[in-house]
Every structure is written in C-alpha cells, then in structure tokens.
C-alpha cells in the first residue's frame, strides 16, 4: 500500500472515524429535516403553500401585494414584528405563510427599485438610490474615483439582474440557511477541526516521529501523503454534511420546486449581485464549502504540525476559525481598521451568505474585484503558505 492509503486509514478509514461520520450523518439528517419543519411546518402545510403560491409566482402584482400586507399587518399586530415569532406563528397555515412571504417579496421589489434611503449609512443599493448617488458624484467631478466606478458597476449589475420575481422557494431557503450560516460552522467546521487535528500531532504524541523522520520518505513524501489524505477527509466530511442536509431537507416534501428561480428570490440573497439560478448556486455553494473546508483543513494541518498534542491543535484551529467573530463585535472605528481581517477571516469566508449574499467589491489597483474572487485569491495564498511551512517544518523537524 502507498503512504497515501496508510495516511487515509489513519485519518479517515478507521473504525472510530467511520462511527463519527455515521453519527454526524445522522445529526445532519435530523438538522436538515427539523429545520425544514421549523420553516414551513408540516408536510401538509407545505403542500398547501405549494398549491396556493402557484397563482402568485412571477412579477409583482400590486393587488396581491396589498392583500398580503393587510394579512401581514394583522399578524404583526397579534404576534409582534420579530421574524422568528412570525415564522413560528404562521408555519402551519399555508395562507398566512403565503401572505407573509409575498409581503417580504414586495419589500424586496421596493428595495430593488428605491433601495437605501439617502440618510442611510449602508452601502448604496437600489436602482433609484444608485442613480441619484452617481449623479451627485458626476456633479462633483468624481468620475475617475473608485467609488464612482463601484456604483456604476453595481447599477449595471442590478439592471442586468432585473426585478425579483416571486417563487415558492421555501425548501431552498432552508437549504441555504443550513449551508451558509453560522450553524454550518458549528456543525461542520468544528468536527472537521477534531478530525484533522491529529494528522501531524499524533506522530509526536505517539512517538512515531522516530520511525518517520529516520526513513527515506519521512521528510517530504509523507507530507504529500498526509496533505492528500487531509483533502480527501475534509471533502468527505463536507459531502456528508451537504448530502444529509440536502436529502433530508427535501425528501419529506418530495419537491425541488423553485430550483430554476434566480437566487434573488431567496430573501437572504435578495441583494446578491450574482446571476445564478438556484440550482447553479447550490452547486457553487457546495464547491465553495468543499474549497473553504479544504483550505481550513490545510491550516489545521499546519497548526497540527507545530503542536505536540492534538487537543492543542484543535483549540488553536477553533480560535483561528472564530477570531474574526470576536473582532467583528468590536466598535465601528476598530472594525474599519481591521476590515480585511474580518472580510477574509475564516468565519466570514466560509459563509456563503457573506460571500455571495451581497455586493461587496474590492479595489485592486483601481479595478473592481468581487468578494468571491478576492476570497479565492486570499485563501489560495493562505493555503500555499501553509503547505510551504508544513514542508519546511517537516524538513527541519527533530525528535528530542
């Protein structure tokens, strides 16, 4: 057997890890199933909603929007405006689900047309808001500024995307919540840290370093074998997460309705500048999670290669994962100074909602570069540096 096969056996294909993966698969399945139930209530409620929403699908209808607003106002008068409270109170009634969803949709259309009010501190969004801001900059003679280019770019993208349309997209909304928000980090990336952390540290704690470092392939090929096995292990665990949450999110309702809609139909992605269909975005999201999982795993491997025991490696890996969550909680003046650390910290770039859900762009030598492309570049650098340091570390590693 090759070294790679042995490393894979040590990391993934062994009794303990297989049991762990089965437990995780069961957990992810429950998460996929229960979150869809939380969002849309029983299967009967979903079927009812699916039937009712068929008549509402397409471009906005002012009459239906008005009707939905009336129902929505009644609900908020009774339960308050907290979105979780509303979601809980309506989940078993197809009519109220539809009314609330259509009201939210009409708000998104309004946002698309009018966007952020001039007094808002948010980044400018919406056709009218962008037009007016661009006019202001033109009057000030700032056509050559990056700000002007960015606004024109946003406007161009927004016009190309066209107005949002209403589609029954509940199950996909649930899927992207599972794939793209903090829950994913707790469910997927934390177990990943535990799985990958022993990859190098175990050789020190077990004393196998003596055998490895004195052997012909113990300084270079072993690193290649270990890194390949890390990539395979991380892909497998991410796939387990993706498959379990996908299958058990959709299976109970036996429907993939909305798969061909634009991702702007999903409330969380309403302001996305990317022209993906929902199914395309599912593929991109899966690839993104595999990619970021792989980069995170390589970073964990680097930490593992410098640690004497795996629990230290787990601790530091988790600290690195969540460091920018802590930083993001600081005041605005601090955040402005450390914005790149927050933007490209693992807690942000592993979230598809953060990366693909908005229209953040970066100024690279005067050119506009989108967040995903910039993130791929930055994560690529992280990964290359980590791999380099791992090889260097193994080359100079000694056993005292």
């Amino acid at each position: 057997m090759s070294l790679f096969v042995f490393e894979l056996r040590k990391l993934l294909v062994n009794k303990k890890t297989v049991i762990l993966l089965l437990v995780l698969f069961a957990l992810y399945s429950v998460i996929g199933f229960s979150t869809s139930l939380f969002l849309i209530g029983s299967n009967d409620a979903y079927k009812g909603y699916e039937t009712l929403s068929t008549d509402y699908e397409g471009a906005i209808d002012a009459e239906k929007a008005e009707k939905s607003k009336t129902v929505y106002d009644e609900i908020t008068a009774r339960y308050g405006t907290d979105s979780r409270m509303i979601a809980r109170s309506i989940k078993d009634s197809p009519e109220t689900i539809l009314a609330v969803k259509y009201k939210e949709f009409s708000d998104r259309v309004d946002d698309y047309r009018n966007g952020t009010p001039p007094e808002s501190n948010e980044e400018v969004y919406g056709i009218n808001a962008l037009h007016s801001k661009i006019s202001v900059l033109e009057k000030q003679g700032q056509r050559n500024t990056f700000e002007y280019k960015k606004l024109c770019y946003s406007l161009q993208k927004l016009i190309a995307l066209d107005e949002p349309e209403f589609v029954n997209i509940l199950l996909w909304e649930n899927l992207f919540t599972n794939w793209g928000e903090h829950m994913m980090q707790f469910l997927l990336l934390i177990p990943l840290a535990f799985l990958i952390a022993p990859v190098f540290a175990i050789e020190r704690s077990s004393g196998m370093d003596n055998l490895i470092l004195s052997s012909r392939h113990g300084r270079r090929k072993i690193v290649t074998a270990k890194l390949l096995s890390v990539l395979v292990a991380s892909t497998v665990i991410v796939m387990v997460y993706l498959i379990a949450t996908f299958v058990f999110g959709f299976l109970p309702h036996a429907s993939l309705h909305g798969w061909d809609a634009a991702i702007q139909s999903i409330p969380e992605y309403a302001r996305s500048m990317f022209g993906f269909k929902v199914w395309q975005f599912a593929v991109v999201s899966a690839l993104w999670l595999i990619f970021t999982g792989a980069v995170y795993s390589i970073i964990i491997s680097l930490i593992s290669s410098r640690m004497k025991n795996q629990m230290s490696a787990v601790g530091i890996s988790l600290a690195i994962l969540f460091i920018n969550v802590g930083l993001a909680a600081m005041g605005d003046s601090v955040i402005q100074r450390i914005q790149p650390i927050i933007d490209f910290g693992l807690a942000n770039v592993t979230l598809i909602k953060e990366v693909f859900g908005g229209y953040k762009v970066f100024n690279v030598c005067g050119s506009i570069v989108s967040y995903p492309i910039m993130a791929v570049f930055v994560l690529g650098i992280f990964a290359v540096l980590a791999v380099f340091w791992i090889y260097q570390g193994q080359k100079h590693r000694t056993v005292v």
């Binding site: 057997m1 042995f6 040590k10 009794k15 175990i202 077990s206 000694t398 005292v400």
Partner: protein, 311 residues
C-alpha cells in the same frame, strides 16, 4: 537463519563492502546542558557496541546518526558527504530501532511493517517477501494479524527489530534493542545481528554488556557526552587485566565492605560469599586474581577510575 544469510549474500553483489561513517566534532546541547561534546569517531563495516551509564549521551548520539536530531555543531559524513545535505539518500541506507517503540492504535503487526516499508520506499512485492521472512525470524509469523497494542513488550521489541531490518539497510542503528526480551530471544537476536552485519555497519547501544561482548567488532564506552574509549574486546580485557579479584567473605562483612568497593558479582556458596571485586591493588590477602570479563571492565572504567579522569 539460512534465509537471512541467503538474503545478505544475494544483496552482497549489489553492495559495496566498505562503508564509512564519520562524526566530525559533533556537539549537542539541550538548553544549557552539553549532551555531546565534540564527538569525533569513524565507523566502518562491522558491529559497534555503545556502552555507557544513563545520561551518557548514547541516545542523543544515535538520534543524530539516525538523522532524527541535528547537531548544534559538527557534522556526520557518510562516505565523505554530509548526511544533512544528502538527506533522503542517506536515510534510505538506514534502519533504526528507537529506544521506545510506538504504534498506531488501529494498526496490526503487518500494517506496521507495511507502513514502515512504504516509508522506506520499498517495492510492494519485495516488502511482502521481507515481511514474511523477518516475521519468521523474530517469531511473529502467527501474530501479524493482531493489533500491535495487544503485543507484549518483548513482541513489540521484536516487531521493532523486524522493522529496522526490513530494507536490508547498510547502516543499522539499534537503541536498547534487547530491552524486554527474554534470554532465548536475546541470543536469537544476537545471532541475527551477527549474521546480518557481514557487510554492514551496525551500531548497537545497550546497558546489557553481554549483548555486545561477543558480537561487536569494536566497543565504545561513553560518559558525559564523550566517547571515553573505543577498542576491541581484547584491548578492554587488557585494561583491567590485574584488577579483578575473587574474595571469600561472610555476609556480614560483605554488607560493610560493599559500600566502599566496586563489586561486579556475588555468589553464595555454603554460607560463604564469593565476591568478585574490581580493584587495582589486592583488596585482601586471600584474594585470588581472575580473568576480567567485559562487564568487569565496564565497572572498572565507570565505577572504579576516578570521575575527574573521565570528565
């Protein structure tokens, strides 16, 4: 045994008969403690024994030789080339049995040997053949399917020996190879090493003097990070030629006497103690001079000679 001989002979055609490994002023410190002090020694084909008390620096020297530890100053030359600069090429020639053998919890004996073979870059078919051969020679042929963690200490040691010999290394480095082996296994191990060492360099570090006494072509005595002596067995015997005595005394007298003397052995015979004493002068009038063994010499060097002459 025949198979080991045969393998050695078969490979001999492809081997150079002469190997040279040269330590040039090798030093190693752990923080402020000097563990190796300017070691300069040249080894060639044959078995070298490395003897010394705990903390003498034997394991550090061996780790540096196995390339798992780097010296602070000095270098080791393998056929004239610095082993740090030739790296993989040097390690491909080395078989190393560390003092403490470790295993992965889910590996069987066969997995462990196959993994070692993969680390050494051995061809699969050759590795398979060697594993069968060596498992037979170390008496583990029926235990390869068992998980390593269920092995006794002696079995783990034998598995480690098989691992070190797996790729017929030119340089075999063994750190306390017989710890935990029973007398029969130790004799068997010595025979394997003797048969094996024909055209190779074997360095064998041990506390057990008898392990090296009859198979080592040269024996190094090490203390305080310095190789104090490197001679053949007969030269060591000469060193303590007139210093070993047999004395008969009562048990009570022995209790008082032993704190101020170097005693290598005591045998009780009919209520009288026959004591083997190391002393440059005749310790008692009735003491009878006897021929020293290597163990006597070891005690003579490390326990009898004044410490300041050894530092």
């Amino acid at each position: 045994m025949e198979k080991i001989y045969a393998a050695a002979v078969r490979r001999k055609d492809r081997r150079r008969v002469y190997i040279e490994l040269k330590f040039e002023r090798v030093s190693k410190n752990y923080k402020d403690k000097k563990v190796l002090k300017d070691i300069s020694v040249t080894m060639s084909t044959g078995v070298y024994g490395l003897l010394g008390p705990n903390g003498a620096g034997k394991t550090t020297m061996i780790k540096i030789m196995a390339d798992v530890l780097r010296p602070d100053t000095g270098r080791i030359l393998y056929d004239g080339q610095d082993i740090c600069s030739i790296g993989d090429k040097y390690r491909a020639k080395v078989g190393y049995l560390p003092q403490e053998i470790s295993f992965y919890s889910n590996f069987t004996g066969r997995d462990y040997l196959e993994y070692s073979a993969a680390l050494k870059g051995m061809e699969k078919s050759y590795a398979k053949k060697r594993i069968e051969e060596l498992a037979y020679h170390v008496g583990l042929q029926n235990d390869l399917k068992r998980q390593c963690r269920t092995y006794s200490g002696g079995m783990q040691r034998r598995l480690g020996i098989a691992q070190a010999l797996l790729d017929n290394p030119e340089i075999l480095i063994l750190d306390e190879p017989t710890a935990g082996l029973d007398p029969l296994e130790r004799v068997k191990f010595r025979n394997i090493i003797s048969a094996y060492s024909n055209d190779r360099l074997v360095l064998l570090s041990t506390h057990i003097v008898s392990d090296v006494e009859h198979i080592a072509s040269k024996i190094m005595m090490m203390e305080y990070g310095v190789i104090q002596h490197m001679h053949i067995r007969e030269e060591y015997i000469k060193m303590a030629k007139n210093c070993v005595w047999l004395v008969k005394m009562s048990a009570e007298k022995l209790v008082k006497y032993q704190n101020n003397a170097v005693i290598s052995n005591v045998i009780a015979k009919d209520g009288v103690m026959e004591v083997r004493v190391i002393d440059e002068g005749k310790p008692f009038a009735d003491a009878v001079q006897t021929a020293p063994t290597l163990e006597d010499v070891y005690l003579y060097i490390f326990n009898y000679l004044p410490e300041k002459t050894r530092r």
